[in-house]
């Protein structure tokens, strides 16, 4: 009797199905803190980028660089100095005014000696920061850097205020269209509309980012209507269930994440290009994409995002061909194959892909022993100490082909020709030349079969049909909600 009464009470208090103008956003990973200028977790940007914090420039859903806190800018002909003209009347969420001093503070903080900015290198080329007047600032670089504008559009380069910077980890204060309301750790972060926003007024009254690590719970939460939108749904195997359901839209897009079979180029026998080529021929991308991603991913042949205009399709360079692969193994002196280990980090895509890779390489005699590990272990063993043979991982940073120019990076590719290409890109001020160089770089690493290039990690958007304006792709990790609205709600 008592239980029935209790159930009835709950039924009466259960929420109605009508959509409010508060958007419930589901995310798999909870950010460790809310300061995008400290630490590398993509989960931080997924909540705060474009919503709470803004940079001088803003990267939009297509990966384009748009005006942000700087309304326009001039670049000197030698490409070294940038004059940014800042928006007027901008206030931080705590009411303090935004001006050139804040820009100078933010950039100096990021490049300081004790800085914990994960992308400190963005600021390394800066030699001078001059405040011309409160709303004009000139930044001078050591030499021309065509990627500088894009880089200062990243979450690591957002503008913070000196008064609040030290507390941003738990009480973020930015200039964006939404302000921080509260964080129930382990459950959700709540944002409310910033009524004093300097730009276009956002259409939502607020947003709640709910953190749901378990894929099955993500499914039930969507189905129960607790969540309005899951911008990057964690389980591709369930997508068809939402596709069938008239209440939802399923939008499969791309991330900036190149999923690769990373190879330790410094270690025998992988230092032998014949072995790496054999591996490249033994990889069947179609089988992997179908098996690991349920068909929802785009094959890649090099370390570059297919959505980028400079992308070259090199998937045909070393096509799936077991005959060729075996011949190359024989030529390399490994006719009978060899044994190696495959260290896999925790994400589902890595584990599933790794299992398929071990089958595929087994066909040419490479017997893989799979070692599953946690991220912290993986970072320690693979990334820092380069104690590995093979691994599967997605490189989610945008435009990161330059990691191949670092001979100390974990896959140990040390090639002078390639390093020269990247050095030229760093200095090129001509767009056509830059594009040509990028294509050359893409081809170079593909030809050298540095790593096995598998697929671009997909972004699986699932949201209620009424939710409009969500990003299709993740050119950078962000769920910028400024243009999002709920149809019929306002």
């Amino acid at each position: 009797m008592k239980i029935t009464g209790l159930l009835l009470l709950f039924y009466l208090t259960s929420k109605t199905t009508a959509l409010a103008v508060i958007l419930n956003v589901g995310l798999q990973l909870e950010p460790p803190n809310l300061d995008p200028t400290s630490g590398a977790a993509a989960a931080i940007d997924e909540v705060v980028y474009g919503n709470i914090f803004e940079g001088l420039v803003r990267i939009n859903k297509d990966g384009d660089v748009l005006p942000g806190l700087a309304l326009f800018w001039e670049i000197s002909t030698d490409g070294r100095s940038y004059v940014f003209h800042l928006a007027e009347g901008v206030k931080f969420h705590d009411g303090s005014n935004f001006d050139a001093e804040d820009v100078k503070f933010s950039f100096n903080r990021a490049r300081a000696e004790n800085s914990t900015n994960a992308k400190k290198y963005i600021f390394a080329p800066i030699v001078l920061i001059d405040i011309l007047d409160p709303l004009t600032i000139m930044i001078t670089l050591d030499h021309a850097r065509p990627d500088f504008l894009f880089n200062i559009g990243l979450g690591d380069a957002v503008i913070v205020a000196p008064e609040s910077a030290s507390d941003n980890a738990f009480n973020p204060v930015g200039t964006g269209p939404f302000r921080f309301k509260k964080w129930v750790r382990g459950d959700r972060v709540e944002l409310v509309k910033n009524d004093d926003y300097w730009g276009l007024e956002p259409r939502l009254e607020g947003a709640v980012f709910k953190f749901i690590p378990d894929p099955l719970s993500a499914y039930t939460a969507m189905m129960a209507g607790d969540i309005d939108t899951f911008p990057n749904y964690p389980a591709p195997e369930n997508l068809f269930l939402f596709d069938r359901d008239a209440r939802f839209d399923v939008v499969v897009g791309l991330t900036a994440g190149e999923t690769i079979l990373a190879i330790n180029n410094k270690k025998t026998p992988f230092d032998n290009i014949l072995v790496r080529k054999a591996i490249a021929h033994a990889i069947n991308r179609k089988e992997i994409i179908n098996g690991a991603m349920f068909g929802n991913a785009e094959p890649i042949g090099t370390h570059f995002a297919p959505s980028h205009p400079d992308y070259v399709d090199l998937t045909g360079l070393y096509p799936f061909d077991l005959g060729k692969a075996r011949a190359l193994m024989k030529e390399a002196g490994y006719e009978n194959g060899f044994e190696a280990t495959l260290k896999l980090p925790p994400p589902t895509y890595a584990r599933r892909t790794g299992e398929l890779i071990s089958v595929e390489l087994g066909r040419i005699g490479i017997k893989l022993k799979i070692e599953n590990m946690e991220w912290a272990q993986w970072i320690d063993q693979v990334l820092r100490n380069r104690n590995f043979d093979l691994t599967v991982v997605s490189h989610v940073e945008p435009m990161d082909i330059n990691i191949y120019a670092n001979p100390n990076y974990y896959f140990g590719y040390d090639n002078a020709d390639f390093q020269e290409i990247i050095a030229k890109i760093d200095e090129s001020t001509d767009a056509a030349e830059t594009s040509r160089l990028y294509k050359e770089a893409e081809r170079k690493i593909a030809e050298d079969a540095v790593n096995g290039y598998l697929y671009q990690l997909g972004k699986f958007g699932v949201w209620k049909k009424e939710v409009k304006g969500m990003w299709t792709n993740y050119p950078i990790r962000s769920n910028d909600l400024r243009d999002v609205y709920i149809e019929g709600a306002n």
């Binding site: 039924y11 630490g39 914990t116 994960a118 400190k120 750790r185 459950d187 607790d226 820092r384």
Partner: protein
Amino acid sequence: MAHYILKRLLSLVITLLVATIIIFLIIEVVPGDPAAYMMGLSGSSEAADALRIELGLDKGALERYFSWVGGMLSGDFGISYTYRVPVSQLIGERTLVSVPLTVYALILSTLIAVPVGVISASRRGSIVDTSLMGMAQVGVAIPNFWFAILMVLVFSTSLGWFSAVGFPGWDAGFWPCIKALTIPAVSLALPQAAILARVMRSSVLEVMQEDYIRTARAKGLSRRQALIRHGLRNAMIPVLTILGLQFSFLLAGGIIIESIFSLPGLGRLVFQSIAQRDLIVVKSIVTLLVLAVVLITFLVDLIYVLVDPRLREEGRG
């Protein structure tokens, strides 16, 4: 009595001290560096070094052990590496979910188990007994995460009575929180209730064979009166032991249920902290859980004394 309690207290303190040493040593040898983890795939080693100094990870092991234990004694658990807020605050928030959930589940399981056990025992061999114990057998066998998912599919996805995930926080009011904890608590409670009911039944059956019950019956009490007036109190002792064990188990072991319902409880915090190498949080929570288990065992020991006067006599002697 005082001697008994003092002895218990002393063993409690020693257990805790040994536990902190073991916990610290285990965490020292765990591979993986929190600073490197936070900097991710593209972070510079320079920034990681700066972070290591900021977190105080560059100091010697002995120094860190003493500052950790010393801090805990004065109520300062340190600052979480990843969340950058005091560990005590983190644990406090999570405890406000885990403890109510555990208590809720134990109340439900006791409310179900005690009557079921008594009824089964008093009608031993009847169809009621057989079917109740059959159900208990099923309850023991069903994994609680499977049952939880089933409950979500029925009550959240299909009927829409409850949210499938999440916890509103106590500032949202008492009832919304109780509501959010109901399905998780039921999922936790049923398997425990099944175990408890079986213990209760056998305990009652055993008690009913005792001489003092026969004496009571001989004095003219009915079976039921004898059970209620003299039997139950004695039958509760093994049940209390199990309840104490279940409390500790549920408090630390709620992680699967917490994950299914995305509840911000202690279990998930430990899990998350281990993965993120937020070692200071791991150390503190594990120590607190040890404290909780030790305290509960201590409390159960005290309750034995209250329930069973014979122990009081022994204590004096």
